[in-house]
Amino acid sequence: MQAFTTLTGLAVPLDRANVDTDAIIPKQFLKSIKRSGFGPNAFDEWRYLDHGEPGMDNSKRPINPDFVLNLPRYQGASILLARENFGCGSSREHAPWALEDYGFRAIIAPSFADIFFNNCFKNGMLPIVLKEQEVDLLFQQVQAQEGYQLTVDLSAQTVTTPTGESFSFSVDAFRKHCLLNGLDDIGLTMQHQDKIRAFEDQHRQAQPWLFN
């Protein structure tokens, strides 16, 4: 997994609540057996005017000029500013894969759906929860100022605006550690093999039918 330490990047405001994983990556792209290449189809139904299918040449498709990600001023954005309950719906990890492949490394919202939130960390992407008023303020600023960049510092747990105003966020210690160091979860868990074995033996004694 790629590590995440600090990031300074262009922010793009996606001003809708309850953005679901079906919107982030529509189901037809879930037929792939790979974990890369979903970026061009992130927000497919909002981003293009035609119906997208896997295997299409996306560079030839008609784009929706009104969709915020398509506005010239937001090209190259790496921070997604979103509204409440972002990433609700399905558990598809294709959603963070698509956002990451598109170029996002951090998402800021007042709240996230649990599974999506969790999936982000597994892919070197940082979901940041700020207070509703703080997110409102960022929305206002990013819309008012072209080229608006934010700086995210994971170790300090802060988001800083171009004027130097700083907001802090909380992040679970374990996840922070993994993300800062780009650690592979499986490798970490395997360090506890003996404990898992011991638990398993005792569990088998107590509930043998589970191992039948």
């Binding site: 309850n18 399905s90 558990s91 598809r92 649990d114 597994k122 868990t189 898992i196």
Partner: protein
Amino acid sequence: MAAKTLYDKLFDSHVVHEENGAALIYIDRHLVHEVTSPQAFEGLRLAGRKPWRADSVVATADHNTPTTGWEKGLEGIADQVSKTQIMTLDSNIKEFGAKAYFPFMDKGQGIVHVVGPEQGATLPGMTVVCGDSHTSTHGAFGALAHGIGTSEVEHVLATQCLVQKKSKAMLIQVDGQLGHGVSAKDVALAIIAKIGTAGGTGYAIEFAGSAIRGLSMEGRMTLCNMAIEAGARAGMVSVDQTTIDYLQDKPYAPKGALWDQAVSYWRTLVSDAGAHFDQVVSLHADDIAPQVTWGTSPEMVVPVSGKVPNPAQEQDATKKSGMLRALEYMGLQADTPIQDIAIDKVFIGSCTNSRIEDLRAAAKVAQGKKIASNIKLALVVPGSGLVKAQAEAEGLDKIFTAAGFEWRQPGCSMCLAMNADRLEPGERCASTSNRNFEGRQGQGGRTHLVSPEMAAAAAIAGHFVDIRNI
């Protein structure tokens, strides 16, 4: 000892290790399907890892399988990309092993959340995971069940464990008697109307109360299935006699002395009196009417006797703009009576409502009737091969086809429209599934979530009707 919630009991009894506020919990049952597993198996292969315990895995193909053309076998799958995904599951299971595998067209194949319980592969007290958010369904058995992403699928395959933080506990208490024509689906939607789609975020929900005790296992599964639509990763119901009766003699349920031993443990899987919940929500069953969603989120729902709400009356700006967007997407005018909304298609299926009881309820409404002339397609998609066989043994298929419904092969079908079953842009559907998001059932498609009896009644009338008046 302090009084514990069912959730405490399930969580605490699976903790292998704790560090920095995160726990490593042991997973008893890992359900696998074709869409979210290929990258996980590939990850194992690349790292040279083996599954920790292949006999915890129960696999089936469901999301992407066609519901017609089975006579041609695999060749009947016109979409080559889908076919590759289904065949990839075959080869992965062959390579890595499983306790049980119900491949495409097997008589036990079906939606993973229908298959697990009906095979007795989901048992009380288990931790159950699957790369699918509706894994919450299995909590109906007094199990701790939740959806995980593909990285976690790989993690569970490799280590039999999952890194978890304990959630807060919410009790949703539904007391009283459900009225005629009111089903578990309506209870689920009424709960979401009350707490919102993010109301359960960060919580594990336990459903309790006399109305819940009165539900069959099928009904409890419908309810727990929709816990995720209320934002909760896990929903659950304490074990009682209904749970135990359902499991007796299921293929993978314990037998003989082991059964007796298991049952005596299962009976302890209830929240203790006085256990602490971080939040308690109460509903009166008698107040719940059949529900119909009008918008693009399950919380955009009203009783069938109601009207499409008017954004002019909403104070919150974000909510208001969401409502305006939803009305535009849904092609609806504010203040339209729900029963005036005409529909184009009907879908009876999905892991929410495709079990035998759901099909019986819908068939009862359709019996001796014909679907309305404006209905372009009415699909009945049983949840599994076993449900299909049972329904056919009871003659339900005949009732449906005589009424003009199509009777299909099992799978997820038009719940997510990955296969050929979908809405065309602008088409309006009465659906028994769980999500009415934009594009969920096909790009530009308009979904109204309802119960099976409400969907069948809408198919007959051509528009929504109040099932209580039939």
